[in-house]
Symmetry: C2
Subunit: 335 residues, 2 copies
Amino acid sequence: MEKKIIKLNSAIISAASVVGKKEHEGPLGQLFDMHDEEDRFGQKTWERAEAEMQRLSANTALSKCKMTEKDIDFMFAGDLINQCTSSAYGLLEYNVPFFGLYGACSTAVEGLILSSVMTSYSVCERCLSVTSSHNCSAERQFRTPLEYGAQRTPTAQWTVTGAGAFVTENADGKNAEGKARIVEAMPGISVEKGIKDAGNMGAAMAPAALDTLMRYLDESGKTPSDFDLIVTGDLGYEGNSILCDLMRAEGVDPCDRVNDCGMMIFSRDTQDTHSGGSGCACSAVVLASYLLPKLESGEIKDMLIMGTGALMSPDSIKQGLGIPGIAHLIRIKGA
Amino acid sequence: MEKKIIKLNSAIISAASVVGKKEHEGPLGQLFDMHDEEDRFGQKTWERAEAEMQRLSANTALSKCKMTEKDIDFMFAGDLINQCTSSAYGLLEYNVPFFGLYGACSTAVEGLILSSVMTSYSVCERCLSVTSSHNCSAERQFRTPLEYGAQRTPTAQWTVTGAGAFVTENADGKNAEGKARIVEAMPGISVEKGIKDAGNMGAAMAPAALDTLMRYLDESGKTPSDFDLIVTGDLGYEGNSILCDLMRAEGVDPCDRVNDCGMMIFSRDTQDTHSGGSGCACSAVVLASYLLPKLESGEIKDMLIMGTGALMSPDSIKQGLGIPGIAHLIRIKGA
């Protein structure tokens, strides 16, 4: 077996998060850079609102590190909407070479891996990676328009309305001091275990998260207790519980290290999201607003984050196919 | 202005093409590795047929260089269908880490750029990049189901049914002898000039091709006559004519070097495709079957290929937005 861990040396020198009303009302609400009380961001359509969040998050990430588009060599971006138009339109005003990605909800980490490859190996100086999701655009995309009032099952997750943007450069660079560093990556392999319920994404993605995590632990010789935190993107309560069960079945104790951004972003007591948050933005905004500051302050010294994605479409569900999951992993060290 | 040309040193050690009936009947028909007389590849749906073409092209590319999935470190793939399911399902059986891309019809070159970065900078040993399009799945995706019998405008292009796969490794590697080498890349910037007609993709993409080409020529100090061929992915007759006009307006003579894969793949005299071929597969199968052998034989010594993509969706068209174009460029040298 080939070595699959990519050695990286990239610093996240700036990050920004933009969210909607429900996310702002959640337990992390005060940490996000920007929110909109109507989830519309001044736009006429939900798709335009999502694109606008990408633009705003990119702008904010650049402002925070006192940079402009001229300082960025390449952008990586993707989202959940058909033909990734939130990214294409949201970042259209930037005069920067653009690599479009599709990794479903794993896109934030996929973008960070490719950005970090570019900066770690000095292919370029600096990258911007952006991703987004919007509850209203995603629900009509993947399930039914919200106006239909469809009842949600207990395993269903709530697509996060938000966008996250990250500026990366080589960790030996001049802006890297005091910043979190991406030191390793383990890209994900698609795994499909027969789950066909678009209302249970957690179950579809948990086996992929297990696959990536076990490959990483095997190759690195680490155990979960070597890290302060092992966090998945959006398995939610259902998927997180499945992942922990699967880990125990593999003889690995998840101890208290395993958590999920979809479980962090909404309150289970006061916000009715059933199995928790999901969407490309879920891991992006939790990382940008909540985890990165802890890494920069030294509260978190060493963590793994796995972007989890479900690679189905409405048509593949209608055509009776199972849902492939994927999980991209990066290891981030604190300042 | 930063330098944006990426220096690369990657060899395309194997390539494969799979096409449908119409492509097989075209002027390059005998060069493709595989075709299906019914465009179905034994599958029940057009979407499954497209995924199967990805699987077949990947398999064939690996067979040709006597390799298996174990020899591949990372896969890059994308397509035109919602949520890129042709790639997700087509490559699901491969136990290889997977980066999903969305670059519309520029995906073949986008995948080659990222694969080549990975191999040129020794991030890994070997990558596989795959892309596909299918006339029947793309038409019902972006325009109307074929059964409606909608009349096509003269500027409309014919989405190529096919898939192309490429295996890349470092050009100093043991399998690189006698193979074409990717030596430079200029990633594309999204450009939107107000074209709103989904039946005129060539006009939407031509300004992006001009932008990338001019940036490349400016930075490299080259002129079109320095290359044996400058080929775009799928501008078609309309877009090619616009590109040549735009080049002349910029004071650059396209001379006889500028051509387009969409103009090569179908016969204008005997196959009614109006403005020529398009789709992710267009540049992929023409490069894999027709151009690479000429590079390997030395008939072509130095060429530029630009994957051109239109980053709209059916919804963005209905919502009245213009169509952003993008063009990713690579320079390939012959053996």
